[in-house]
């Protein structure tokens, strides 16, 4: 990964944390100052989707051409994506406790997000339960496609079809609630870009670890022969 990209991401994240805390936000009832949670909570989900789609892409590449490299990349992106998703659920719970009255409100958006995270957790359970490397890679690549296809409706479609209280759901798609203010976009979108890059960066470290591990195993194999 290029160094300038990392520095750009750091700049964006600093901008997020300064702008997210200090810039003007719309004054809304009930949410009050917690509207700022948008800046920190929403990029987690966007980042998760970005990383899961990269994982899906690599899974498809693996199915087209079974190289171990694709499998390693698919696993790493899914892993970091899941971490982002868990952070998204936790930050959402803190906000829900303040705004909705309880951390777990059983809102369709919350339930959908939790199920989506469980679906991706099962991806790692599946990987852990198959011994054979090629079989593991092939099975998990196929499962990856199903997991992605389940995640999108669970998080983005079902909450909009039912009466979710989550901002942007339940009949008002997008950021309608915040449309009063395009100022918020000025922080939210750079923040999302910053987290995209940092998520990719962390995944690239995981990929490095995995490749080093495999090389080490190869070396050991050669010396033992």
């Amino acid at each position: 990964m290029k160094t300038w990209l990392k520095i750009l991401a750091i700049g964006l994240l600093f901008y997020l944390h300064i702008g997210g805390m200090l810039f003007d936000v719309p004054r809304l009832n009930i949410v009050n100052e917690t509207v700022r949670a948008t800046y920190f909570h929403v990029p987690m989900w966007f980042g998760m989707c970005f990383l899961f789609s990269l994982s899906l892409y690599n899974a498809i590449l693996y199915l087209r051409k079974p190289l171990a490299e694709y499998d390693v990349r698919a696993e790493a992106f899914a892993h970091v994506g899941l971490a982002f998703g868990i952070l998204g659920i936790l930050t959402g719970m803190i906000w829900a406790n303040y705004t909705w009255g309880s951390p777990w409100h059983g809102d369709p958006k919350q339930n959908g997000a939790a199920i989506a995270c469980l679906v991706y957790l099962a991806y790692f359970v599946l990987r852990g339960s198959v011994e054979n490397h090629e079989q593991k890679a092939r099975l998990s690549a196929v499962y990856n496609i199903f997991a992605f296809a389940a995640m999108v409706p669970l998080i983005f479609i079902i909450p909009r079809m039912t009466s979710s209280m989550h901002p942007g759901s339940g009949g008002n798609p997008g950021f309608n609630m915040y449309d009063l203010d395009s100022r918020m976009r000025l922080v939210l979108y750079p923040a999302t870009a910053g987290w995209f890059i940092v998520g990719y960066w962390i995944a690239s470290l995981r990929i490095k670890i995995k490749t080093i591990e495999e090389k080490l195993l190869d070396l050991e194999h050669e010396t033992s022969r």
Binding site: M21, N29, E33, L205, K208, I212, L219
Partner: protein, 78 residues
Amino acid sequence: MKHLVKYLAALLLLFCNAAIAQPEKVEMADVMRSEGKIYVVVAIILVVLAGLIAYLFLLDKKLSKMEKLLHERQQTKS
């Protein structure tokens, strides 16, 4: 007549009330902002962020070094 005046007065009051209530006061952390204490919080958050990112950088460097070392060893082997 008396009733009508009362009714009109009540209506007027109601409108006045609505007019006064129009610029709704939504409570925000304005005091914290005006006192400048929010900058303390921002500074703390930035320190944590900078620390974590520096850590990530060091981790990255270490892994790259390891990668290179392994590559060299592989080449000397073959």
